[in-house]
């Protein structure tokens, strides 16, 4: 197949989103199945791209309109993008299934559109090879995310959406200023070319531009203290949307940040910005974990926990040795799996029993045994118990930190795990060993299958991490090996 078909990854959700009003004429019942179909096709394409990239070992470069970059705009689906586009598509597919039960607020057609746009935006952010397009995709993601946050139309949801809009808006404006600075001094928007020219740039301008870009993306990547919108937004948005936020929207932001920062590897600004990421990441972990400690709303607790995990990933990127980047990407994948499972299960409990507060979880082991089991496995995994997937990524991160002699980071990771143990095991105890008067609930078959799939994935990676670890190493190489990145993009007028 012609690699150019990979552009369908962007085109399909976009056109499908525009088709939603037409589909609506066929009846409201068709919309969600339509959504499922689209994401299924998207998953198929993503799987094909994934296979293509990992078997040939070469990235897929899609040239828009056949123009060569930097004149034309290109998509760059390397090892990293291929892996994450697939994760995005699969998670989205699962969430369409979940939406059938979880979404009962009208207008469902708008929900479907926004859903597709959110998926599109995140895919685009990861796949694009052009910094202005990155901005566009970021805006698509952010705006659909604002709207989805407020979708439930409660006061709480509107307030959360409002906070998100204000903070996100400030962030993206500064990002745009950063892009303008870059364009002004380099005359290009292509990421590969920026990387090539970065060392020739005026260091002060480079530093300013980089600072602004990181600042803008840190809002999306939920780094402290720019993440204040996140707990509210996670809590208020519809359950499937929360899953998407945690599993890939935030990761797309983090990826974009890391990609841009690593492009400036050879400039003097690089070390400074890494230190900044390290500090922000550390603060994110500490504040996130501590905030989760006394939450009585389980969904909000997970939100804080998710923020903290993102902080850990950022710390990994901040260390920036190949081993640390490997570990960070591994943690990204593992966290996407585990948090997708957790938010799905908690959301399912919330719609079945009324609210995601801790009271619903008392005696959940008797009421909804399978869901409780899934949450338990997820919780154990996050805490970092061996034979579960997150143990390996935390362990890799530890080793990476030790190799560069950063014992502080080791203490951070381990301290975070201790705090996680406290609040997750409280939850586990509430689920299995506290009594509740409610009756047993019939669990939905489709959700059970999805949850079991994710649980199986957690355990398989936990027991046999090698295959995924190999994939992840390739994906990480794609991130930090910038020279290779430049070489892979066929730049017009530049001899390789």
């Amino acid at each position: 197949m012609n690699p150019q078909y990979a552009s369908l990854l962007i085109a399909l959700p976009l056109f499908s989103a525009f088709l939603v009003p037409l589909i609506k004429r066929a009846g409201k019942k068709v919309i969600l199945p339509y959504l499922t179909l689209v994401t299924l096709i998207q998953t198929g394409i993503a799987a094909w791209a994934f296979k293509e990239v990992y078997t040939t070992g070469k990235p897929i470069i899609v040239l828009a309109g056949g123009f060569q970059p930097p004149v034309g705009i290109n998509l760059y689906i390397g090892h990293f993008a291929a892996l994450f586009v697939l994760i995005i598509a699969v998670v989205s597919f699962f969430m369409t299934v979940f939406s059938m039960k979880a979404i009962d607020v009208e207008p469902i057609d708008k929900y479907a559109m926004l859903f597709l746009l959110l998926m599109l935006g995140a895919t685009g952010m990861i796949a694009t090879g052009d910094i202005f397009n990155l901005f566009v995709f970021m805006e698509i993601t952010a705006i659909s995310a604002y709207a989805l946050t407020g979708y439930n139309k409660t006061g709480e949801a509107s307030e959360a959406a409002m906070k998100y809009i204000i903070l996100g808006g400030i962030g993206s404006s500064f990002f745009l200023v950063g892009v303008a600075l870059l364009y002004g001094s380099l005359g290009t928007l292509n990421l590969a070319q920026i990387a090539m020219l970065a060392s020739k740039m005026n260091p002060t301008v480079a530093q300013a531009a980089l600072a602004l870009l990181v600042f803008g993306l840190a809002v999306e990547a939920e780094l402290f203290p720019l993440n204040a919108w996140a707990p509210d937004a996670y809590q208020a948005s519809p359950h499937p949307v929360t899953v998407m936020f945690s599993a890939f929207v935030v990761k797309a932001g983090l990826y974009a940040m890391v990609r841009i920062v690593y492009l400036f590897k050879d400039t003097p600004a690089f070390m400074g910005i890494l230190n900044l990421i390290l500090i922000l990441g550390t603060l994110t972990v500490v504040i996130g974990e501590l905030s989760a400690l006394r939450q009585t709303n389980v969904k909000r607790m997970l939100a804080y926990s998710s923020i903290a995990q993102i902080g850990l990933i950022a710390v990994g990127f901040g260390v920036a040795t190949p081993q640390a980047v490997d570990a960070a990407v591994f943690h990204m994948v593992n966290h996407a799996i585990v948090k997708a499972l957790m938010f799905l299960a908690v959301g399912y409990v919330a719609i079945t029993l009324g609210c995601p507060c801790i009271e619903s979880f008392k005696g959940l082991g008797k009421k909804m045994p399978l869901t409780a089991f899934a949450i338990t496995v997820g919780a154990i995994s996050i805490v970092g118990i061996p034979l579960f997937n997150i143990f390996w990524s935390k362990f890799r991160l530890l080793l990476a930190a030790l190799q560069v002699g950063k014992t502080g980071i080791v203490a951070l990771i381990l301290g975070a795990s201790l705090v996680e143990a406290v609040y997750y095991f409280r939850l586990i105890h509430a689920m299995w060993f506290e009594e509740s008067k409610d009756e047993k609930v019939e669990e939905n078959l489709a959700f059970s299958i999805i949850m079991l799939l994710l649980v199986a994935l957690i355990i398989v990676i936990g027991v046999y991490p090698e295959p995924v670890w190999n994939l992840v190493q390739k994906a990480a190489t794609d991130l930090y090996n910038v020279a290779n990145y430049i070489k892979n993009v066929p730049l017009l007028g530049v001899s390789p």
């Binding site: 400030i170 905030s291 201790l418």
Partner: protein, 620 residues
């Protein structure tokens, strides 16, 4: 053919998962028992192999790591402890386990502890350590959240301390397998001795040692990290506690030995000796001595039999630590000997407690009494266990304690010696209470229908009691295996006799004299000794009349005077200290969250502004 070491380690895990999945009453018990019997059988078989070759080695590659396993003399002994006591505990669980959840995690923890003993690299050691901790935590979580969290947090704290130490070693040495680390550190010590620069600085050695000490101290229940043990041991299935206290705590002891094996030479070079003992070892020994005293005193003050034995267990581990800390060949052998005997008698004790709770449903002294008549088999077992723990010949407890005394006294260490003697004395104090209050005296009427131990528990107790007696009468059996560790005759003598050169103990001879004495006593009794009836209240008031205000019977507040004497010391509690710290952190976190995520979007926008300002100051 799958490697036998893998079978030894993973058979319980597999059985546990199977039992959990099938969850059919009868079958899951059978699978569980088989799962615990397989490692034991293979370990016994491995004894043959080990007599022809020094070790059995195996390695697998997984997740980019090479995991090494090695079975040789020292860890064979520890693995046998796990095999025997684990098997007995699992047999006990046939009677007392309520559901498949307990089977799953009890067997996983057995896998974990076997893995810890057999691992020959730090990565595998750590992973199995965590598996063991986690599974045992799940066993406690089911019964009591607070106790389990305390256990888990302290254990994980310890495990992470170990992880950091492992990381430091890995960063310097570049390998994780024991052989390389041992070699590199040995060379490092040599380098230091010749005055060249060493790989590890003095501070790094202190750090690594301290971290390992915390890690293994937590698991062994060493003072002041013991606070989890009384709660965790008592708040779970008591059959499982036989394994928990008998085997899992030995992982901590084994860890201390690993410190010697890996770091011993280097630490000895860095810090020198204190008398005959290495200085770092003396720290272990001193903490061990304090553990004996603290554990023993607190055991005497308990009103709940589970707690009494939990504290007693802590106290006994103290002995082992003293032996390891003194660090001579004799003292280490004595320590391992005591590890064996502690596992045997404490395993037996907890099975007895399990039986009592299973049959009566009671756990406190005030509800018990006169059970000897109703539960003769269990009482016989308890008799063996009590004599063994108290260190009365001809039981195994005497042999190992005697060796420890000799080892410590021989090195002229009066402080440690005093601590051990004190511990023995206090051992009598709390055992008296258990003996009298549970088995003799008036029986509460609601215990009149109590039946004796169920068959599986009786078999389990029988196995352990038999070994208590056999290893007591023939202490040479154990000594012979211990001598193989050092490859020379540290403890001389025959099967029945231990001969140290400066002291001798003959188990068989004492047994014979004891039997003769008993026969004579029996003859006198049957010839017609007068029986004198003693009222229950006539215990130890030394002639003072018993008043209702100060009514200390054996079943209630028996050691109140002791408690009053110790009142000042009892106010110092590490348990409370840790709890206060935990609460303080949580309060602080909540306050902080309240101010940072205060819900005001203006404040959040200010955060953005501040970050921007910082960015600007930083270089723009």
């Amino acid at each position: 053919m799958i490697n036998e070491l893998m079978i030894i380690i993973f058979a319980p895990l597999l059985a546990g998962v199977l039992a959990w999945l099938l969850d059919i009453k009868g079958i899951r018990e059978a699978i569980g028992v088989i799962g615990a019997a397989i490692p034991l059988a293979y370990l016994i078989q491995a004894y043959q192999t080990l007599s022809t070759q020094p070790s059995i080695q195996y390695s697998i590659a997984l997740a980019g790591f090479k995991f090494e396993f090695l079975l040789y003399q020292i860890n064979w002994i520890f693995a046998m402890i796990a095999g025997v006591v684990g098997f007995a505990a699992v047999l006990g669980m046939v009677s007392t386990a309520k559901d498949s959840y307990e089977w799953l995690f009890a067997l996983i923890s057995l896998t974990g502890v076997l893995g810890v003993f057999l691992a020959d690299d730090l990565a595998g050691f750590f992973i199995f350590w965590e598996v063991m901790t986690f599974a045992s935590f799940m066993m406690v979580l089911k019964y009591n959240r607070k106790a389990s969290l305390k256990y888990f947090l302290l254990s994980v704290f310890g495990a992470y301390a170990m992880l950091i130490a492992i990381g430091i070693i890995y960063a310097k040495v570049g390998a994780l397998d024991f052989a390389t680390i041992q070699q590199v550190l040995y060379q490092d010590a040599m380098r230091g001795a010749f005055g060249t620069d060493t790989l590890f600085s003095r501070n790094e050695m202190i750090l690594v040692f301290g971290l390992f000490l915390i890690a293994f101290g937590v698991k062994a229940g060493m003072f002041p990290l013991h606070v989890w043990a009384p709660d965790a041991y008592s708040e779970t299935n008591q059959s499982y506690t036989a394994m928990f206290s008998g085997v899992l705590s030995k992982a901590g002891v084994y860890g201390m030995l690993v410190i010697y094996i890996l770091l011993g030479t280097r630490l000895m070079y860095e810090f020198g000796k204190f008398g005959a003992a290495p200085k770092f070892g003396y720290i272990i020994a001193l903490l061990g001595g304090l553990t004996i005293i603290v554990g023993g005193l607190l055991a005497a003050l308990q009103e709940d039999i589970r707690k009494l034995f939990a504290y007693s267990s802590i106290s006994q581990i103290g002995y082992i630590l003293v032996g390891i800390g003194v660090g001579t060949a004799l003292s280490i052998e004595a320590a391992i000997y005591h590890a064996v005997s502690h596992a045997l008698f404490k395993g037996l004790f907890f099975l007895i407690v399990a039986t009592i709770i299973y049959r009566t449903g009671k756990t406190e002294f005030k509800d018990m009494g006169g059970l000897a008549e109703k539960m003769p088999i269990t009482f016989a077992m308890a008799f063996v266990a009590i004599l063994s723990l108290a260190g009365i010949p001809p039981l195994v407890g005497f042999a190992s304690k005697w060796l420890l005394f000799e080892a410590v006294i021989h090195e002229n260490m009066p402080i440690l010696g005093g601590m051990i003697f004190f511990g023995s004395a206090i051992g009598f104090v709390y055992l008296i209470r258990f003996t009298y209050a549970v088995w003799f005296g008036q029986r509460p009427t609601d215990l009149d229908d109590t039946k004796d131990a169920p068959l599986p528990l009786a078999i389990a107790m029988g196995i352990l009691a038999l070994l208590n007696v056999v290893f007591g009468i023939a202490p040479g059996l154990v000594a012979k295996e211990l001598n193989k560790i050092f490859g020379k005759e540290v403890i001389g003598g025959t099967i029945y006799e231990l001969n140290l050169g400066f002291g001798r103990y003959n188990g068989l001879l004492i047994t014979i004299w004891l039997v003769v004495g008993l026969v004579i006593a029996a003859i006198i009794y049957f010839l017609g000794a007068k029986v004198r009836k003693v009222p229950v209240t006539d215990t130890y008031q030394a002639g003072n009349p018993v008043t209702m205000e100060y009514n200390l019977t054996i079943r209630r507040n028996f050691f109140l005077p002791l408690k009053e004497t110790l009142a000042f010391w009892l106010r110092i509690s590490f348990d409370r200290l840790y709890q206060d710290i935990g609460k303080w952190i949580e309060d602080l976190a909540e306050t902080m969250r309240h101010y940072i995520y205060n819900g005001s979007v203006q404040a959040y926008a200010w955060y953005l502004a501040i970050v921007l300002l910082i960015l600007a100051l930083w270089g723009v």
